[in-house]
């Protein structure tokens, strides 16, 4: 069966080891988590986990079923084919040199990225967008001397319930 990326949104009770349970369940059954994002919701005892994984529809259904068995899991939904918006964020630290100052400024301006910290020796840029946009940004910045990056997992939100 055809493998593709799936975005799975999981509502859980905010218990100390809930993430360990989810990661353990998937790891133990041989499924891979590609990216992960966790935080509380507007209800403080409930957290939302957004996870991406690559697999066939049958595999993803099995993942959903396995997660649904966990006592602290409230609901599991595959957002892949649901109307929803998807965002990731990346923080990029670039080494600043006389040679790249102009090019960095142009890249930031062209793409309306945000400079968060600007020092003599480095600059930190914040970029949000979907996966393609982030991939594009990193490719664009790479030749300019990327020192380090931190990239979040994907977050996703349905347009309507």
């Amino acid at each position: 069966m055809e493998k593709k990326d799936h975005i799975i949104s999981i509502l859980v009770y905010n218990k100390p080891d809930v993430l360990a349970r989810i990661a353990g369940t998937l790891g133990g059954k041989g499924y891979n988590i590609d990216s992960l994002c966790v935080n509380t919701t507007t209800q403080k005892d409930i957290s939302k986990i957004v996870m991406t994984t690559c697999g066939s529809q049958a595999t993803v259904t099995r993942i959903e079923n396995q997660l649904q068995r966990l006592v602290d899991v409230i609901s599991v939904e595959d957002l892949t084919n649901v109307e929803s918006i998807h965002r990731e964020m990346v923080l990029v630290r670039l080494n600043r040199t006389p040679a790249n100052t102009e090019a960095v400024k142009k890249a930031v301006d062209d793409n309306r990225w945000k400079v968060i910290v600007s020092g003599d020796a480095f600059v930190i840029i914040e970029i949000t967008g979907d996966k393609t946009q982030i991939d594009f940004a990193l490719a664009r910045l790479e030749p300019l001397g990327v020192a380090d990056i931190t990239r979040t997992g994907l977050v996703a939100l349905k347009l309507e319930d």
């Binding site: 100390p16 349970r21 049958a58 099995r62 079923n65 006592v71 602290d72």
Partner: protein
């Protein structure tokens, strides 16, 4: 009124109607044991924590209630892991209480500290570390609810020493928990599909599993089969959910299933699989499993559906509710099977049964293990609660002890845990002191938890061990004989204790039979005694379990062994 954690624990157990604890004390649970000492709570002291879990498990399987055990932290807790994994694989409701070091020391590598909730996360249905006294009552209530609701399973509750010594208000009526009950939604459309499939089928077959026993649906399943004359096969865990003496019963299917059950599965055009999960020992190669059949799969756990075998019609729900619905639907729609067609199917099966019956080669010089089991069945009238160890003893029991009632075979199916049978039998006997409880054992398995003979002796828990002693790890030896050119690598167990003397040393009666002529009298003698007994049957050393589906083959391809029929 303020109560201590230890008092709340015992009161909460009473609330849950727990009437027995299997346990072993230690440093982290001293306070709890002191509370038990002051109470009338029934506690059975095992000799190893693994034994405590298996005993609670046996109790749970025989009664359908939650089994409970209590052990200390660290090694006490880690010793429970095999028992917990055993229960988890077979969906048995347990609550396992473990002691823990005081919360302030957690993470410090304190004496007898271990992260038991971390260790048991993958082999429990759920587990808890109680971090403060206010959570205690709710956690215990939730643990029991989780253990027994939906697809049951073991729940571990870790109790730090300081939490149990702290005090809080306790009002059982005020304890509120979340509901975890699986919701069954009646699906008339699916029932209509089943009806349609039944009407179209020429060769329907029911496959019953452990979910029918756990769901207390044996009566409904039996009614379905008998009312519409549908033959029935079962998994190891399903034995007893349909009467073994009924002509519609084909015996177990799978690797050591009967010839006719496996042929029926491989030939049927409709398979009604109820409360099963299509384990690899049952299906053989997936591609050739029930190749001509439409498959209806009724199970409470959505994760069991389409996991091993892709099915045509999944019905998710409690087996009892689903079967009750199905029976009503078929009745309302006046379903009647085509009489001639059904007769032809049953005749086809009868021919297989006649061609290759379930049998073994009898011998007047050497005791055959199957003969011991058949004799045990005859002498008890089949009315015994049977536990097994794992290996050949287990398979022969499944084949030759016709189980007529649910909850009467107590065996480690999924995990295949050697050393399960004796402690499990102790748990069963505690629940049913007036029933005959027999552990059918092998000489390898029995040595894994032999120390529990002391438990049986101490409390005069009159379990009967029928030891099929062949001086081998018989099932592994069988594989070595068949697939490794008889290179018996470390399976010869000839160096073993004198089991009769060993039993006596524990304070258990020991009997021995070395000739077929002695089997009946030894069994009679052993069964009649009102105390624990170990009966050592010196059986044919290199007997194999047949039929056998070779690994990686279709279950229609069976090795049948040398077939000298019973006269």
């Amino acid at each position: 009124m303020k109560l201590k954690g230890t008092e709340i624990l015992l009161k909460a157990l009473e609330e849950e109607k727990v009437d027995i604890l299997f346990g072993y004390p230690g440093g982290a649970v001293l306070d709890i044991y002191d509370q038990i000492y002051k109470s009338n709570f029934r506690h059975v002291l095992v000799r190893h924590e693994q034994g405590a879990v298996h005993a609670a498990d046996g109790y749970a399987r025989a009664t359908g209630r939650v089994g409970v055990c209590l052990v200390t932290s660290g090694p006490g807790a880690t010793n429970t892991v095999t028992g917990i994994a055993t229960a988890n694989m077979d969906s048995i409701p347990l609550v396992v209480f473990t002691g823990q070091v005081p919360t302030g020391l957690i993470g410090n590598d304190a004496f007898q500290e271990c992260d038991i909730t971390g260790i048991t996360r993958p082999c429990t249905k759920h587990n808890f570390l109680v971090r403060n006294i206010e959570e205690l009552a709710m956690t215990i209530k939730e643990a029991f609810h989780i253990a027994r609701s939906g697809r049951p399973g073991p729940v571990l509750v870790d109790l730090p020493k300081n939490v149990m010594a702290a005090q809080t208000d306790y009002d059982p009526a005020a304890v509120r928990i979340r509901n975890h009950e699986a919701v069954y939604k009646p699906a008339p459309k699916k029932m209509a599909n089943v009806l349609e499939m039944l009407e179209r089928a020429q060769k329907p077959l029911i496959m019953t599993g452990g979910g029918v026993i756990l769901g207390r649906a044996a009566e409904e399943l039996t009614r379905l089969a008998r009312r519409y004359r549908i033959p029935v096969t079962g998994t190891l865990m399903g034995l007893g959910s349909f009467p073994g003496s009924d002509p519609l019963w084909l015996g177990m299917l799978g690797m050591h299933g009967t010839y006719y059950a496996n042929m029926a599965v491989s030939t049927c055009d409709l398979l009604l699989a109820v409360g099963v999960r299509f384990d690899d020992r049952v299906t053989g190669t997936i591609e050739t499993f029930a190749p001509n059949a439409k498959i209806v799969h009724i199970d409470i756990d959505p994760s069991s559906i389409n996991r091993n075998v892709t099915v045509d019609l999944p019905i998710i729900g409690d087996t009892k509710a689903a079967l009750t619905d199905l029976l009503r639907f078929l009745d309302d729609h006046h379903y009647e099977p085509d009489g001639a067609g059904r007769q032809a199917w049953l005749s086809e099966i009868a021919e297989w049964r006649e061609k290759v019956p379930l049998t073994y080669c009898r011998n007047s010089e050497v005791i055959k293990p199957q003969f011991v089991i058949q004799t045990l069945h005859r002498l008890t009238g089949g009315d015994a609660l049977i536990t097994t160890e794992v290996g050949q003893n287990q398979m022969w029991t499944a084949q030759f002890f016709g189980f007529d009632r649910p909850n009467s075979l107590i065996t480690s199916g999924g995990l295949g845990t050697m050393g399960f049978g004796l402690p499990a039998a102790i748990g069963v006997k505690c629940a049913f002191p007036d029933r005959q409880v027999v552990d059918i054992a092998g000489d390898g398995s029995i040595q894994m938890n032999i120390q529990e003979l002391a438990t049986a002796a101490q409390y005069n828990i009159a379990v009967k061990v029928v030891l099929l002693n062949n001086g081998y790890l018989g099932m592994v030896r069988q594989w070595q004989e068949l697939f490794y050119e008889k290179r018996y690598s470390f399976t010869d167990m000839t160096y073993a204790p004198d089991f009769v003397k060993l039993a006596e040393a524990f304070g258990v009666a020991g009997l021995r039979a070395t000739k077929p002529g002695e089997v009946e009298s030894v069994l009679q003698q052993g069964l009649a005694m009102d105390r624990p007994v170990l009966m050592d049957f010196r059986v044919s050393r290199e007997e194999c379990v047949y039929p056998m589906v070779h690994p990686g083959e279709s279950i229609s391809q069976m090795a049948l062994g040398t077939r000298e029929m019973i006269n």
